[in-house]
Structures are given as C-alpha cells and as structure tokens.
Symmetry: C2
Amino acid sequence: MATTEKPFDRAALEQLCTKRFFFAPAFAIYGGVAGFYDYGPTGCALMNNIISVWRNHFVLEEEMLELDTTVMNTYDVLKTSGHVDKFADWMCKDLKNGEIFRADHLVEAVLEARLQGDREARAAKEGAAAVDAAKQAGEAVKKDKKKKKKGTVVAVELPDEERKAYEEILAQIDNYGGPELAQLITKYNIRSPESGNELSMPQEFNLMFESQIGPTGQLKGFLRPETAQGQFLNFKKLLEFNNDKMPFASAQVGRAFRNEISPRSGLLRVREFTMAEIEHYVDPNNKNHHAFQDMKDVVITLLSKDVQLQGKTQTVEMSIGEAVEKKIIDNQTLGYFMGRIYQFLLKIGIKREKLRFRQHMDNEMAHYACDCWDAEIKTSYGWIECVGCADRSAYDLTVHSVRTKEKLVVREQLAEPRTVEKWQVEINKKTFGPKYKKNAKAVEEAILAYTDECFAELEKELTSKGTALVEADGQKFEVTKDDVTVKLGTVTEHVREYTPNVIEPSFGIGRILYSLLEHSWWVREDDEARNVLSFPALVAPFKVCVLPLSGNAEFEPLVKKFSRALRQNGVSTRTDDSKASIGRRYSRNDELGIPYAITVDFQTVQDNTVTLRERDSTKQIRDTFENILKIIKEAQ
Amino acid sequence: MATTEKPFDRAALEQLCTKRFFFAPAFAIYGGVAGFYDYGPTGCALMNNIISVWRNHFVLEEEMLELDTTVMNTYDVLKTSGHVDKFADWMCKDLKNGEIFRADHLVEAVLEARLQGDREARAAKEGAAAVDAAKQAGEAVKKDKKKKKKGTVVAVELPDEERKAYEEILAQIDNYGGPELAQLITKYNIRSPESGNELSMPQEFNLMFESQIGPTGQLKGFLRPETAQGQFLNFKKLLEFNNDKMPFASAQVGRAFRNEISPRSGLLRVREFTMAEIEHYVDPNNKNHHAFQDMKDVVITLLSKDVQLQGKTQTVEMSIGEAVEKKIIDNQTLGYFMGRIYQFLLKIGIKREKLRFRQHMDNEMAHYACDCWDAEIKTSYGWIECVGCADRSAYDLTVHSVRTKEKLVVREQLAEPRTVEKWQVEINKKTFGPKYKKNAKAVEEAILAYTDECFAELEKELTSKGTALVEADGQKFEVTKDDVTVKLGTVTEHVREYTPNVIEPSFGIGRILYSLLEHSWWVREDDEARNVLSFPALVAPFKVCVLPLSGNAEFEPLVKKFSRALRQNGVSTRTDDSKASIGRRYSRNDELGIPYAITVDFQTVQDNTVTLRERDSTKQIRDTFENILKIIKEAQ
C-alpha cells in the first residue's frame, strides 16, 4: 500500500521533528509559551538554506536592493501606516470562566464540529461499515479540530438548509469582520466550546507587541508586524541609490511579530517569525514587466475570489499569460511575481500538486491592499497561506508622504513637454497673516496639500457661498474668496511626477519550512519505523555525513581529513562516529534529511576509496574520495 | 603626505556612508530616534557577507550547532539569568531641566574636558605655536566630546595631583558602579554639562525592552539582551543531538536589544543590533583544547587587568601559548577562541595594529562572567569593544537548572569506578507527612537540592541543637533529627556528573562593520575628493560592477549577458549604466568598495574582450570575458 493513501500521521512527523531537533517549543524547560518556537541545528540550517536560495532567486538574480531595517518601530510610523488602528483580530470571552478565543477561529471550529456531527449521524443511519469510513475520512480533520478546542463532536443530523448555510459560511470565513461574526454567534447560538457558557460579543485586539523606548517612558514603540514599513520609509534613498531608475525592488529578510490571541497549529501560527519581503515599485500607468515573456507560459493553479464568493473552492489550471489577459490576475508584474514565487517554492521542494494561488476576497484583504493572491500550500492542517502577493497600490508611500511632508515620488523627464489642466491657488498674504495669526502657515499648507477633488470642491463653495471651511491642525477655519483664489488653468510640464505603486511578495519562512517538512517526509516501504526526509540537496540541513564503519582507530584520521576537505569546498558536513551500528546511523541520516553519506572502511585505509550512499534510493557506489567529492559538488 | 598622519576626518566618512547608503538613521523622515539605524543595500550586503564569513569560520569549520531561538523572552527566564535584577546602567538627571545622562559617560566626558582645558591652558603659556599643535592633537578627541555633550572646554590649568587623579579615574572608568560614581560626582563637583545645574545621584535603569505576551496582559516578556539564554535553555537537547559528546559548541546569529539611556557614537552604541554568539561547553576540570597546538604560536596584543588597575594602558605582544602558560589567559580553550577571533577579524579586513585584547576588571565584568577578554578595535572613537570572550563558568546552566529542576548536566561514563565521599540523606516519611502536610514535598525537595556546604551545616546543627531551619516556598520550617538523618558516607560511582563551563565569544556585528569602514577608507593621493573603501573581496558588498562605456545601444545586450553570467556563477554584481562619465562611475565604484569593474566598449562588440579594473591600484587588464570571470572567481 502506497504511503500517500494513508491518513497523514502528523503525530509521527512531530515526534521526528522533536527527536532530530528541527524545532521545539521555546522556554520548554520553563513550561513554554504558546506561539514561540526555537529552531535546532537541523531546522536552523534548513531555514538558512531556504533563505539563501531565496536571496539568490530574488535579490541576486533580479538585482534587488536588500535592506536591514529596525524591528522596533515608532508609534508615529505605525499610526500612519494604519497598523495602530487596523492591525487587529476579533476576540471573544467566555462570560463565566474568562477563556479567550479568536472569534473567527471559534465560529469556524464550532460549525465544522457540527458538520462533522452531521456526517456521523447520517453515517450511523447507513450502518456500521459506513461509520468507519466516515471516521477515517474525518481523522485528519478531527485531530486538528481538537487543537482548536471545538469541544466534543455530537452526532446530530442537521437540516439540509442549515448544513448548506454552514458550508457557505466556512468557504468565506475570512471574509467576516467583528459585526458579521457577532451576527453568526447570535444566529447560530455559538457558545464556549468546552464549558458551553455564553460568549461576549467580538472585540478588537491589536496584534502588535508594545514597548517603551528610552528611559523617560514617553516614547511608545511597537515590534514590527511586517518588514515592509522600514522599506517604504527609505524609498527616497533607494530610488537615489538606483540612479533614479524605475521600476526596481527593495527586499528584506527578518523577524516580525504578531501578538496572536490564541496561537495554535505549531509553526503555522506563531507570535514571532521570520519573513522575507519584496517591495517592487512600479509606475501605476504601466504595470507591464520586462521579463514577462519568460513567464507567460508557466501554468499555475488558481482559485479566484469570484469562485469563493459563490461558496465554492474549485481551482483552475491556467498559464500566467492567459490569466493576465483575462484580467483574472490584474497585471503583468503581479503575474510575473506569482510565477517567480511558484518557481522558488518548487525549487526548494514543495510539491506542485499541493500548491495553489488563492485570491483574497474584498473584506479579507489587509487595510493597505487593493488586490492580493496567496500562494497556499496544502498540509495536514489544510491549505495554508505561505506567501502573500499583494498590490498595495500607492497606499503606504502616500500616507507617509502626507504625514511627514517628505515627497516620496518619482520624477520622470518627459520626452515631449505636455500641457495639462491643473488647479492653481493664490494665497492672499495680506489678509492671511492678520486673520489666522499663528495658524496662518498651517492653513496655507493644508490648502496646498489638497487633491484635485478637494480643489474642485473648494472652488465650488467659494464661487457659490463665498466661504469654505479648511481643516488644519485639528481645527476648522473659515476662508473667503478674498483670502484664496482657486482656478483651473493649463500648464506646460516637462517632468511627470508620480507616486509608485507597490507589488509585494511576502514570504512566511516558518510556514514554508513546515510545509516542506510535510512534503518531504515518507517512510520506507519495508519498515514503517524508518523515516526519510527527502529534502532537495540545495536546502538539506547538511549535505554529507561522514561515517567511520566502526570505532577502529585507523579510521579517525581519514574521517577528519575527508570532513575537512568537504568543508573547505563549502560542503556542510556532519560526522557520526557514535557507537551505533552503521545501519542505525544511516537511518539517523535519513531522518536528518542528509542526501549523501560517505563511509570510511578497511578498504579506504588501503586505497583511499570510499562508499557514497544516496539517501532516497539507498544505492551505494564506490570510488576515490576525490571523485566522490566532485559528484557531490555537482549535485549541490 | 600620507593619509594616516592626518587627523581622522570622521565627518567625511559619515557623509560617504550616507551618500552610498551603507546605513542611515531609522525613521529619518519622521525625525529619527537615537540609537536606531537602518542598513542600506551596501551596508546590508556588507553585513550579510561578514556573517557569512563568520558562519564558515566558526559554525562550518568547527562543526558548531547553530540555533535560531526567540527574540522575545519571558520574565521567568530573564529573572533567573539575573538580567531582570542586574542588567542595568546608572543614570542621573539634571535636577532642573530633567535631561538624562548615563552616569559613567557623564563623569568621563567632564573629566576629559577638564584635562583638555588643562592642556590648552598649559600650551597657551608656552606660546602660540604650541597651542596649534595641542589643538591639532586634540582635534579628534574634541569632535567626539561634543557628541558626549561635555559642554565647552575651558582652558584652566589643573594642579598636578588633580590631573593625575583624573587620568587614573579615566583608565578604570568601567570599573565604577553607582555608589563610586556618586562619590566622584560629589568629590569633583560634576554638574550637568550644558546647563551647569546640579545632578541627581545615580539611579539604576534596567536596559531591557519590556512587553506583554498574549491578550490577557498578564504575561510579561522582554526582548533578549543577548542571544545566549536561548542557547542555554536548549542545552539538554543540544547535548543529545551531539550524541552526548563533549566538548561542543552552539552558536546563534540574531537581533538583540538594549534600551540605552542615551545612545551616541553612531553604530557603536545602539538600541537594536545584530549579534553572533558562540557558547562552547567544556569540562570544568579540563579546559584544554584539541587544536591548541595550531594556535599556540599566534601572537596577539594583550592589555591585562593588572596593568589597568595600575591606571595604565600599556599592551604587550605575546604568543597565545606563552600567555596561557603564564596564566595571563586562564586556559587553552579561552586562548584558542581568542586566536580564532583574531584570525576572523583579520580575514574580513580589520588592521592588525588596531586590534588588541583587553581583560575586564573585576567590577566591570557582567554578572555572569568569571573572566573576560574583549577584542577591542581602534577607531576614531577610541578603542571599541567589538567581541567579548567571556568565561561564564557554570553560572547560567546552574541557575536555570535550580529554578526549573531540569538537570542540565553531562554524564560521563568513568573508565574505572571510583569511591567518593557523599552526603546521604534519609527523610523520615512517617513524621514528615503529618508534620508539614501540604508543604511536605517542598521541604523534602529543598533539602535534597542542598549543596555539600549546606549538608555539612545541616548536619552540624542537627547534631549540636537537634533542630535546624529549612527554607521552602518562601517559608521557614523547623526540622528535627527525627525527621531527617544526614551523614557523610562513601559511595562507588560509575558515572561522573558535571555541569559544563561555558566559554562565550560574543560578536557585535554592527560595531565590527563600522570599524571595518574606518579601517578600509582612504582617499586617492592625487585627489582628496576621491574616496576608496578597500574591503577585501570576501566581504565587499558587491564583487563586480559591469559598466557600458557609454549609452551606445550595442553595449546593452552584452552588459546584460555578462551580468547574468556573473550572477549565475554566484558573483554578486551591480550594473551602472547611468549617464555619468566612465571616470565618475569608477569613482562611484570605489566609494561602494566594489573590488572589480568590467567595462564593455566598442572592442567588446568585435572580439568579446573586456577590461577589468582593480579598485585599489586602478590597474586595468584586457582579456576575454571568460578569462576575466575565471580571475574573479579565484579572487573571491
């Protein structure tokens, strides 16, 4: 029986990850805290290798400008970016015992449990054999549900229309905000899963970790929830560094933090994580990509928002070229990056058939995004968002520019001067100073910062009523047509000035790493206890294990010599000279995902030949160490 | 005139670093916050390359176990490690305007200013020519002092004994705690430098950033002040991963945070920084190192604590072997790592004559250390601690073990069983339960956790008085000789159990990077405006710049082709096809520290040859692109 047909045994994989120290709960000897994990030597090496491939694939190959900006951010920056007000989840409380839940997860878990109960009740009617089948099919789901604290599944049949309603709700669960969740909780009588108590209505909880900068306690700071803001703040310097050429991208790898309400699902929902983000700055009038030709025939799997809003989850296979042409994907640049993301994930070992791009629904989108496709990877937890590919439009650069009065724009020399209609403003200095006194400057600046729509409005009011209200420094001031003259005139421009749009591929490295562990894991057919992690050599934590056949003293200097030679050639090695049998040590290697093993034996002492064992096939060849080294270097 | 003889023009270097975006104040468009910096494309690449060399030099070559643990740490962990109570600096406040100073820096700045005033006053007496000389010599110092807010230097001659006292204080300024600083402030009438107001006495200020984990607000967390604790917490898993073999090392690269009272000196004293730390676990009875033979003849520059306590700063040149033999360096392992640190720093381009190892004085040492040598690098700010190499003894593993009751020890199979004297305890279960009721277990555990000294004490009291007090769960309990029997007996041991000592080389990457910028910077003799940053190719931000001679359309496909070929060979490149003259673009390259430039010209179109220009010598050779590529790959 092929392993893929069995239900996924997540507990066994978790045990393997702990045993081989890929990762483990942080502060474990202190009892641990949910949502914090440490990576051990294997997990850390795997992560470093994934990041290194990412750097080559994106930063190096696409000549991006990599930055390293601060994790600590100020209140002002994140207030402007919208995170202080909007970067929140909805939580509700068990009104009696005080237990806290993330509202959308709670609704999801309870409705899923009811559907499962419905399936069991229906199966029971159809006889015992069918019950078993239903249970087995639901196994993976049930295990997951337990972690979601859904309480017990009760076998109760649901009316058809209720079942249908639940399914539709679940298909768009990410589309609901607090008020909608409150309605669902009331309508479907959702209660605290374990206690059965009533719940409070959902309240917003900001997900940023807060702190104080400096000894006075007066400067509020937050740990960044994304690495993006640090890149936007440096836009002007980056453009200059790029000799004012557009388009271009900045990139950053680093830590980010989200103070999750109730973390779960291992590495998939954590409070501290490593991200890799790209901010590609592009002319809003031209989102074509110079290398789109190379990408247009790549076929990917798509789940558009229209399909989801119908309560469905059918995907389509489509070339990126076709998807852009049909406007399913908005533009070439977005499509190009989706293709690059796809290539990157396959390169590190993610399985093609377990990878899809899902479009965000409108309410689901982050406050800054105008379109977003997630690369989702299928795991035993379901489809997991691992890379977001969002069009943030001009949102961030605009808000920071308005707030700081720093121009974050591109100035493009026009080939031909052009005549444009533009609002022209004249401030009457004679009346302005005496009238607004110390506020005069603020009122003037407020008017000068007006958008075209605001000028049109102002002109209308001044013409019709003779006065208008201007907001500055939080107060309202009345201006008259004697103070300000506004009119639409034509001007000749030699330079076009625009705020770039931003396409942002944003990678959750921990989630990708965990998915890769699931996709790489299998057990040998002849022996279920023999785990293998088939990482591509490119990202494997160590490339080669050097093993002496036994504890014989003659082997030691050769093991040291070969090991040093490998490392000098940039091949990361691990030596396993423990007393375990060679078979057991090969098994250990398989569990560490090391693609090659070099064994030193009695013949090696004679003629300098070694055996090379390949992990997946367990095939062995024998050759001189020098030839084996060449083979390994080529395979990297 | 050689550049080295001129006073160091720090302002010019800072300007260069900003212009070429090595680093810049974070949140600059919001006005910035002291102590936070962003690294631009050049600085980030330079830092990544330094870290990459570090990983090869330490983790790969010495087969260390690299970890990636959380930045957020819990209160419990850092309370146990001593950071909640002791990780603090002394600050004092201007009693009138509320300005806050770090106390030791304030005393240092004021006394240095008085000494400078003394030098100027004495020089004035000796005539105008001498004044100029003194001023020039003091130039670099003065510029620095301004940043320390020392106020104005007043030319006042000091009595000889006062001058001598100041010099002695400054030589051991790091040796003073709060009470000593308070004495100095009173004794020498030190006041707020700019206002002249009186100062508060020094108060402790904890340097950790605090936050709250989770939605309840009840779980206190801190941003780690060092990466070490995450490594110690995982000791047991690491030892197991290492097949229980000793000695071994773990390592980690990552962010750490210190909420400095008053950050200054650019990258040298910041609130957020990248560290690289090694924790080498070693048998306390045997701190020899297996590779010491390879290191013993390496000669390094030493400044021992004895010399400093005499108020002096003379260094000696000594081989590591001799220093260990003479017990100047405590043991082989400490010496070995000092040698490895030395080799690493030279490898990335730090100048040998500007590198010394300074031993910490007793009061200066961190609370966990029992010996510590800093690798100090000379910069225009003086000698800067860039790498600490501390012997943390068994401090951390012991305190975490005591607090969590998790054994963090090594068990070593003894070749021969041995007989040892050991305290044996018998708890009288019959009296214990009824007498201490719910506290019985705690009292028992408290006694069992006693050290040998405590057992000896307990035995003495029980024998002499018949009773003794035991502290458990914060209360005191009386035990009698009927409850507990304690006696010294002999036991045969087959296994030796010990807590390893830890040797910790700890690298401040930002400080090393800044020092490297200073050491690498020079200006061309023929043109002072032409800056060069002579990074070794190994760490240079980009290895090659590809330049078309002009904007001719025939060059573009060649530039693209060569650039792609270089990148496919893992050579990081930058293309400079801006309209500036070739000479100006070469200058720009020199400022970016790019070691090689490949120029595509009309001949290239004909015969595929290019010119290769070397940065430092400006020498050029011409050859086919393929040969040039070979040269570059070999030089990396």
